[in-house]
């Protein structure tokens, strides 16, 4: 998420601080899931368009000639996204065990992986064997490319901001422990944010898999 809940700065007593911290951590949890819900409806709209136009097959123009977007690039994009998501998940699993460095390394690789996928997606748009308006399939594919780029960039931004925050948190108070292990409010919020971000990455993998099947397999 681009706008994170602030640290609980209003609180006057330990109990109020604890209450506001709990609320902020809960906001990351709820916000992450709600964001997945929003993106789910966004992509469900595209899936609806895909199946609606496919079943209509107006003027037999759904997919004349069985033409497909460049399959090799499509497979590569999917593989890169999947690898990035697995890396981000592995990193978070390692962070739970206290290994912050593993998360950072896997996180940065995941960010670059996602950016690579965005680059490949843009390159694929220049290699299409069809005009955007030549068929229902072609239209849906262009729609998918645009929405996929937006989703991937959003995910990369979210993970990158967590990585940048992590670096800053380590610099600010090395005595307190790492953001992976500290019980300080900043560290707790950071971990909640990373957890929601990783959950969102799982959603990215799911969406990528579904639309990979739609556009390249069926």
């Amino acid at each position: 998420m681009t706008d994170t809940a602030d640290k609980p700065l209003f609180a006057r007593t330990p109990e109020e601080r604890e209450f506001e911290l709990r609320a902020a951590v809960g906001s990351y949890w709820t916000g992450g899931r709600l964001m997945i819900g929003m993106f789910a409806f966004l992509f469900a709209s595209l899936a609806f368009a895909y199946f609606y136009l496919k079943s209509n097959n107006s003027g037999k123009m759904w997919r004349p000639g069985g033409i497909t977007a460049p399959t090799g690039i499509g497979w590569t994009i999917f593989a890169v996204v999947l690898a990035s998501v697995l890396l981000a998940s592995y990193g978070q699993w390692r962070m739970r065990s206290g290994s912050l460095l593993d998360w950072e390394v896997s996180g940065w690789v995941a960010v670059f992986g996602i950016l690579l996928a965005v680059g490949l997606q843009i390159w694929q748009l220049t290699q299409l064997p069809f005009f955007p308006g030549s068929s229902g399939y072609a239209s849906c594919f262009i729609g998918w490319a645009v929405m996929n780029i937006m989703m991937l960039l959003g995910g990369a931004y979210w993970l990158e901001t967590n990585l940048a925050l992590c670096m800053r948190l380590r610099r600010v108070d090395p005595e307190e422990g790492t953001p992976a292990t500290s019980n300080g409010p900043s560290a707790q919020l950071f971990r909640a944010n990373v957890e929601s971000c990783t959950y969102f990455f799982g959603f990215i993998a799911l969406i990528s898999a579904l639309f990979w099947v739609f556009f390249y397999l069926i």
Partner: protein, 670 residues
């Protein structure tokens, strides 16, 4: 230790002032309030420069395609101009500062805490400032749409003599519908939801204050984008934007598509922030059965805003791609389908009807107990009704396609689901009636508006049940009957409730009292002329006059003229509101009492003006806020340091010393 127990132990401790919340900006740089910092002026500059840049870029891209360069119009340049203008607007107001700073791990800097009026021109994390910004914003939307409505009624004064040409007329009708619909989706959630919800649930802030501010500023950007259509020759589709007309329209259509998508983003942001706030920031003791009914309505609305609106954004994106990248989502000849737009649009559009209706119900249900001085009848039924309406609203969209693009065998199913939704709606209506039953009603201005909602919504709701029925729907489809129906539900329900809510909460929001006589004059003129304007339209529709057509049969002129003259008087009634608002708030302000309506709501238990951090101590909620006139009613909340909110009716929680002037019916006691 719980908060309540901790208070008992620490009630004597003096704490320093809480730190105010923080807002975006690069860490380390000092706050620079004043004309050289970011504000509305820099946003306008950003938007203008952004438009020029985007338009130029669009021309560069489009000039490479012969079909664009030979067409005489360039959707790519217009779309680029509008999108980059929105980005420039957000950049100029400061919405992008913090997201950029986060890229290098920076934390937000403390917000400059200003009491100057200029804070209303800035990007701020204070939900109360955002709420008041929204008040001005939605009123601007509303009056713009209202002026366009006056133009429509002027044209319809005569069946054959014309003020406008047919193209101009349909452009005005389309602009009116779009502006009003966009306004109506945010008219309660934006101003009242943002301002009140944190206070009502005992929170000191919203969960994502910058997302909240973003929702307002992108909402205003969307207003200008939609308005820009008039400068591009308008769009001919009405507010529903149906293809294939959409794909054949000129560049004015881009303002519609981009504007709807941009405002959709704002709606999603507003709903997202408030939903997360309600779920997570409720004060201790504020259980689901104790949250104010208005908050329930906002939560149900936010669920719809966050889940239904992405479909609108997707539909808009497909339309933009059709016009710019030359895809064919809505072009049947190339494998697309114009019915795809209808399905996507109404999958958002019908929940949108309840996005508009539910907050209105919430306001009425919230105000009734205050002015009836009795508990809200069947609180849980009302809450369940709101959730039920929200859920069912996802399953009715196909009734908009009864006349087109739907398998006839599917009609009975969607007729049934549409009729089903009248059941939870009826629950809410009956809850209101139950609260009114045997009540000693105080006919204050807000209450008059609430009572009007019952009258108007009964007509709008019953005609809605008629319209859900396939034979009636087919008969009156596209006629003034449908137009009258939805004006009765949206304007008669939501807008009346909104004005009731404004009169009720403005004393808290501004610290000033609205003039009562002028308020009553506003109400009666609005109520009478609203009904005189829209009731004849049922007859006009039944007699066969279609919507969006500027010529009509001679025999309908008398009814049309009656509706037009009434509409002008209805428009004039809002001048009374504007006069009252300007007079009472700016010219001759009268300080409002702390709790003028003797409400038990938490929002009234804070000082006026409400401090930046809302509550001195996080309140502990002890019961729901509707125990009016009950003997031995429980205290509503513990505001900290032994300060209790009670009904004052022999409450066991009351003690002798009272730190505030006692108000009849409500006491805050130590």
């Amino acid at each position: 230790m719980t908060l309540a127990a901790e208070r008992e132990a620490e009630s004597e401790v003096v704490y320093p002032d809480p730190t105010p919340p923080v807002l975006g900006g690069f860490q380390g740089l000092p706050a620079r309030p004043g004309w050289f910092s970011q504000h509305l002026g820099t946003a306008v500059i950003g938007a203008v420069l952004g438009y020029l840049l985007g338009h130029w870029l669009g021309n560069v891209v489009g000039s490479g395609y012969t079909n664009v360069s030979n067409s005489g119009s360039n959707s790519i340049a217009v779309t680029g101009g509008l999108l980059v203008a929105v980005a420039g607007w957000l950049l100029g107001i400061g919405a992008v500062n913090y997201p950029l700073a986060k890229l290098v791990g920076m934390e937000p800097r403390p917000e400059y805490e200003s009491t100057s009026w200029t804070r209303y021109l800035r990007y701020t994390a204070d939900h109360k400032v955002v709420g008041l910004q929204y008040v001005i914003g939605v009123l601007g939307f509303f009056f713009t749409g209202g002026l366009l409505a006056m133009a429509i009624r002027t044209e319809l004064l005569s069946p054959t003599s014309h003020v406008f040409g047919p193209g101009t007329y349909i452009a005005i009708v389309s602009e009116h519908g779009t502006v009003m619909m966009m306004m109506a989706t945010s008219v309660v959630v934006g101003p009242l939801g943002n301002w009140l919800v944190p206070l009502m649930i005992g929170a000191r802030r919203t969960a994502f204050p910058r997302v909240e501010a973003f929702s307002f500023w992108i909402f205003t950007a969307g207003y200008f984008v939609i308005l820009s259509a008039l400068f591009y020759g308008g769009f001919p589709t009405g507010w529903t934007g149906y293809a294939p007309l959409q794909t054949q329209a000129g560049v004015g259509m881009m303002s519609y598509l981009v504007g709807f998508a941009v405002i959709g983003l704002g709606m999603m942001a507003a709903g997202f922030n408030l939903a997360v706030t309600i779920i997570n920031y409720r004060a201790p003791g504020m259980t689901w059965s104790r949250i104010p009914i208005f908050v329930w309505s906002i939560l149900a609305t936010c669920a719809l805003l966050t889940l239904a609106t992405p479909t609108l954004v997707a539909a808009g994106l497909f339309g933009i791609l059709d016009h710019t990248a030359q895809t064919a989502f809505y072009v049947t000849e190339h494998g697309g389908s114009s019915f795809l737009w209808q399905n996507l649009f109404w999958f958002f559009g019908h929940p949108e009807v309840y996005i508009m209706a539910l907050p209105g119900f919430g306001i009425v249900a919230e105000l009734l107990p205050v002015f009836c001085r009795k508990p809200l009848f069947a609180y849980k039924v009302a809450a369940a009704g709101m959730v039920g309406v929200a859920l069912l609203s996802f399953f009715v969209w196909q009734h908009h396609l009864f006349q087109s693009g739907i398998n006839p065998d599917m009609r009975p199913l969607f007729m049934l689901t549409t009729e089903l939704i009248s059941i939870p709606t009826g629950f809410i209506y009956l809850v209101g009636l139950g609260t009114l039953y045997k009540a000693k009603i105080r006919l204050e201005v807000p209450m008059l508006f609430c009572l009007a909602v019952f009258f108007n919504f009964l007509i709008g709701g019953v005609t809605g049940v008629f319209l859900s029925d396939v034979p009636v729907n087919v008969t009156v489809h596209g006629s003034f009957f449908v137009l009258a129906h939805f004006h009765y539900t949206i304007m008669g329900g939501l807008i009346f409730a909104f004005f009731g809510g404004l009169y009720y909460w403005l004393p808290k929001m501004t610290g000033k009292t609205m003039n009562k006589q002028l308020g009553k004059a506003h109400f009666w003129t609005m109520f009478i002329f609203f009904n005189m304007t829209f009731f004849p339209m049922f007859l006009i529709g039944l007699l066969g006059q279609p919507r969006r057509v500027f010529e009509y049969a001679q025999n309908l002129q008398a009814l049309n003229d009656f509706a037009s003259v009434s509409a002008f008087l209805l428009g004039a009634s809002f001048l009374i509101f504007i006069a009252n608002f300007v007079w009472s708030i700016f010219i001759k302000p009268t300080p409002a009492p702390a709790n003028p309506w003797n409400s038990l709501g938490l929002e009234w238990q804070t000082p006026t003006p409400v401090p930046y951090y809302n509550f001195e101590r996080i309140p502990v909620v002890l019961s729901d806020p509707y125990h009016y006139s009950e003997e031995n009613a429980p205290a509503v909340a513990d505001l900290g340091e032994g300060e209790l909110v009670t009904t004052g009716a022999s409450s066991p929680a009351s003690v002798a010393e009272n730190p505030r002037p006692p108000a009849p019916g409500v006491e805050t006691t130590r």
